[in-house]
Each structure stands twice: as structure tokens, then as C-alpha cells.
């Protein structure tokens, strides 16, 4: 009997794995055609990263303006609440706020992705009936969630950058462009991009794995 089982095993080939470009296009079309649903998921990332970018850019600009040591500018800085004499650097309160925002964002994405998996249990079951392996499901959810994260991060950076520059110009006028700290702002953008992407990728691991464990028999349940 055991020998028979081995013989049977060898007759049936293993399922071939689906190439990454197909995974990518499936995830992309899912994102695109569920645009508003995806946008709501992304909103958490967008807001958190916008906040982070805003804080960092604001900080860099103020530092650059302080460096300039111009009397009139120092007056403007003092007027908008900057302690001109204090040692430079971001204070602990800000770091705490940013960390909280990022944590909320992480929990938000995890929650949104779990929701999105439960909404699509039947879809996952159907794909498995068609011959999808666990790895295909993991990949599509992972790619979808990461794409959402990267798109959300990019939007968040843009919004944060625009808002902080606009507010700085409002307070300090043309000095902002005269002493604009390009290097520091680029660094801030890079940090925000890295943090946003890492958070989104981390947040997608759990839901993607959970999705892949759904059974094909789940496709049979009629519940709508």
C-alpha cells in the first residue's frame, strides 16, 4: 500500500509557480479597480508620513534659517515661537509624537489589510480552486499591500513637503528659498520614504500569510 502511494505521487506533477510579473499585474489591477477602498487604506499611511515629513522639513528649514544669523530673520523666528538661543535639534516631545503617528499608521494598515482579506475569503478560495498555491496568494497580498504603502508614502511625502514649505514661506517669506536646506530636506524625504516603506511591508506580512491559509472550500460558502 505504501509503495502504491509513492507511485501515485510520482504520476502527478507539482503545480508550477506563477511568475512575478503576473503577480504584480493581478495586484495592480486589484488596487486600481478597488481604488476608493484602497485610498481609505492608504489614508493612514498618507497622514502619518505627511506628518513625519512636515516635522522633519520644518525642522531643517528652521535650522537653516537660524544658521543664517540675520537680525530680521531672527525676529521672525522668535515671533513664530522658535527659541533662537536654544541648542539645535528635535526635542523629545516631537519624537514621541512622530512615533505615535507611525505606530497608529502601522496598526491602521494591519487592520485594513486583515479587513480586506476577510472581505475576499471567497475570492481566495476561488483562486485556490483554479489551482493557485499558497505562495501565489501570499505574493499577491504582499505586493498589493506594499504598493499601497509605497503609493501612500509618496503621496504623504508630497503633502507634507508642500504644507511645510508653504507654512515656512508664510512665516519667514523669501528667506526660506534663499537659505533652503536642500540636502537636509532630501535626507528627510529619504528617511520618510524608508520608514513608510518598511512600515507597509512589515504590516503586510501577517495578513498576507493569513490570506494564504484560507481553504478552497471557503469558495463554496454562499453568504452574500
Amino acid at each position: 500500500m505504501a509503495e502504491l502511494a509513492v507511485a501515485e505521487r510520482q504520476e502527478i506533477p507539482c503545480q508550477v509557480s506563477v511568475p512575478w510579473n503576473v503577480v504584480f499585474s493581478v495586484s495592480w489591477s486589484s488596487l486600481r479597480r478597488r481604488f476608493f477602498r484602497s485610498l481609505i487604506t492608504m489614508l493612514g499611511v498618507i497622514l502619518a508620513i505627511a506628518f513625519l515629513t512636515y516635522m522633519m522639513v520644518q525642522d531643517s528649514v528652521v535650522d537653516a534659517l537660524l544658521e543664517a544669523r540675520i537680525e530680521a530673520l531672527n525676529l521672525l523666528l522668535q515671533k513664530s515661537g522658535v527659541d533662537v538661543l536654544a541648542v539645535q535639534g528635535t526635542d523629545t516631545m516631537m519624537i514621541l509624537l512622530i512615533s505615535l503617528a507611525l505606530l497608529t499608521c502601522l496598526v491602521g494598515i494591519v487592520n485594513a489589510m486583515f479587513m480586506s482579506v476577510s472581505e475576499r475569503i471567497k475570492e481566495i478560495g476561488t483562486l485556490k480552486c483554479l489551482g493557485a498555491e499558497d505562495s501565489f496568494i501570499v505574493k499577491t497580498y504582499f505586493v498589493e499591500s506594499s504598493l499601497q504603502g509605497v503609493l501612500g508614502t509618496t503621496l504623504g511625502i508630497l503633502i507634507g513637503l508642500v504644507v511645510s514649505v508653504a507654512l515656512c514661506v508664510g512665516s519667514y517669506g523669501g528667506y526660506v528659498f534663499q537659505y533652503f536646506p536642500y540636502g537636509a530636506v532630501l535626507r528627510a524625504i529619504a528617511i520618510a520614504l524608508a520608514i513608510g516603506s518598511i512600515i507597509s511591508v512589515l504590516a503586510s506580512i501577517g495578513p498576507a500569510y493569513w490570506a494564504s491559509k484560507k481553504q478552497p472550500v471557503d469558495a463554496m460558502r454562499v453568504e452574500e
Binding site: 475570492e123 483562486l127 501565489f136 454562499v222
Partner: protein
């Protein structure tokens, strides 16, 4: 081999443990299904019909007993081999169509072909051909939400046949359709059975299915209550209600 047995179920039981209580959904079903037949499994809800159907479709595992397709037992297969069997050997059709809502009709069919290892461009070509076979050659770029129920079920049939399976498993395929559309779908399944020599297995409440079936199996209380060939069914068609409700 054409008249051989394609599915053999032996002593299938299924138990669910719910707290302190054990529910016996199936109490030992043995059944042979021959290649090229149209088999309807009938039974009231709660009879174990769906459970049995899912087990012979390789979607659920029995507590005891064996299912073999073409002599190959499901229990001997790895999960990747089982995925291969689902992909190449079985076409599934569902009561609620189960099309992927974010994919067009063409993409819904093509994805099944991609799982079978075809390159995306070839998969699309095969999918278009398959959709043509079910009469939807002019609806390729429509999303499921833009199609009627009958059209969605046709897409599902195109998806089920695109990999040229040995078996089509249809779970209440007419359950969400009106009378006329339901008849069309049954006729289409019958046509696919003859044209492609596919074995069709349906789980159904639908009396319309009976006239298309070669064999009807009645399941009640987790056991086969009766099995009948087409001729016997036709003679008794007036008295069938007693068995089903």
C-alpha cells in the same frame, strides 16, 4: 478507458466535532462515477450533499475513506500536487459564480490558464477562444458587475473548461438564475459534456437537472439513499418530490 471509472469514493465519512457533540455529516458513502457521465447529486440541505460534493472535488478532506481520481488517491498527494489536480483535472462552477470582481471576463478565464503554466499572452488567446465557445466572444472586456447572472455563469463555465479538465464540478449552478437562464446553463453543460467528453458532476435541488443527467444520486442523512439511471428517472419523474424534499 473511455467508459472507465473516473472518480471512486470508498467509505467516505465526515465528522464534525462541535463542543461535546459529534455531528456525522457523512456516514460511509461509496460511489463510482464513470467517465463522460452527467451525474446529479440531489438531497435536501443538511443531507451531507455539499460535504460529499466538496470531498470528491478535493476541496475538503474526509474523516475516513478514500477518494481516487483516475486511480490516484487524493490522500497520497502533496498540497502542490493537489493544486495541480484542481487546476488541470477539475473545473469548478459555483452557485454564486465566484468571478474575481476586479478582473474582466477575459482575465477571469485567463488566470486559470496562467495557473496551468501558460504565458499570459497565450493564456489570453485561449481564454478568448473559451469565451467564444460559451457565446461570450463579444463580452471579453466587461467586468463581472457589467454582466447578467447568466452571462457571469457562462464566464465561469468558460473558466472551468479552459484547461480542458476531465471533470466539471458544479455546485447548484442554476441556484441563482431564473428558470429560462438556468435551462440554458444546463444545456450548455450538457453540450460541453458531449463535445469535450467531460464528466459533469452537479449538486443540485433543481428538477430541471434531472432530464439532463445520466445518473442521479439521492443523498439523505449522510448516506446514499438511492441511485438511478436516466431511464428510471424519466419513468418516475412524477414521484420524485418525495425523495427530494
Amino acid at each position: 478507458m473511455s467508459d472507465g471509472i473516473i472518480i471512486r469514493a470508498e467509505g467516505i465519512t465526515k465528522r464534525y466535532v462541535m463542543g461535546a457533540e459529534t455531528v456525522h455529516a457523512l456516514r460511509g458513502i461509496s460511489l463510482d462515477i464513470r467517465r463522460g457521465q452527467y451525474v446529479s447529486i440531489m438531497g435536501p440541505s443538511g443531507s451531507g450533499k455539499s460535504t460529499f460534493f466538496n470531498i470528491i472535488g478535493g476541496l475538503d478532506k474526509p474523516s475516513d475513506g478514500e477518494v481516487a481520481m483516475d486511480g490516484c488517491r487524493y490522500s497520497a498527494l502533496s498540497s502542490s500536487q493537489m493544486a495541480w489536480v484542481r487546476c488541470h483535472k477539475i473545473g469548478y462552477i459555483f452557485q454564486s459564480f465566484n468571478l474575481i470582481p476586479t478582473m474582466t471576463a477575459l482575465e477571469n478565464v485567463a488566470i486559470a490558464r496562467i495557473f496551468a503554466g501558460r504565458a499570459p499572452a497565450d493564456a489570453r488567446k485561449d481564454a478568448a477562444e473559451s469565451l467564444g465557445q460559451v457565446g461570450l466572444g463579444n463580452r471579453l472586456t466587461h467586468l463581472p458587475s457589467e454582466l447578467s447572472g447568466g452571462q457571469q455563469q457562462r464566464v465561469a463555465i468558460a473558466r472551468a473548461i479552459v484547461n480542458k479538465p476531465a471533470i466539471i464540478l458544479a455546485d447548484e449552478p442554476t441556484g441563482n438564475l431564473d428558470l429560462h437562464t438556468g435551462e440554458e446553463i444546463i444545456a450548455l453543460l450538457g453540450h460541453m459534456k458531449d463535445a469535450m467528453r467531460i464528466t459533469v458532476i452537479t449538486a443540485t435541488h433543481d428538477m430541471k437537472m434531472l432530464s439532463a443527467s445520466d445518473v442521479v444520486v439521492w443523498i439523505a442523512d449522510g448516506a446514499v439513499k438511492r441511485m438511478a439511471n436516466r431511464d428510471e428517472v424519466k419513468i418516475e419523474i412524477g414521484s420524485i418530490d418525495g425523495h427530494v424534499t
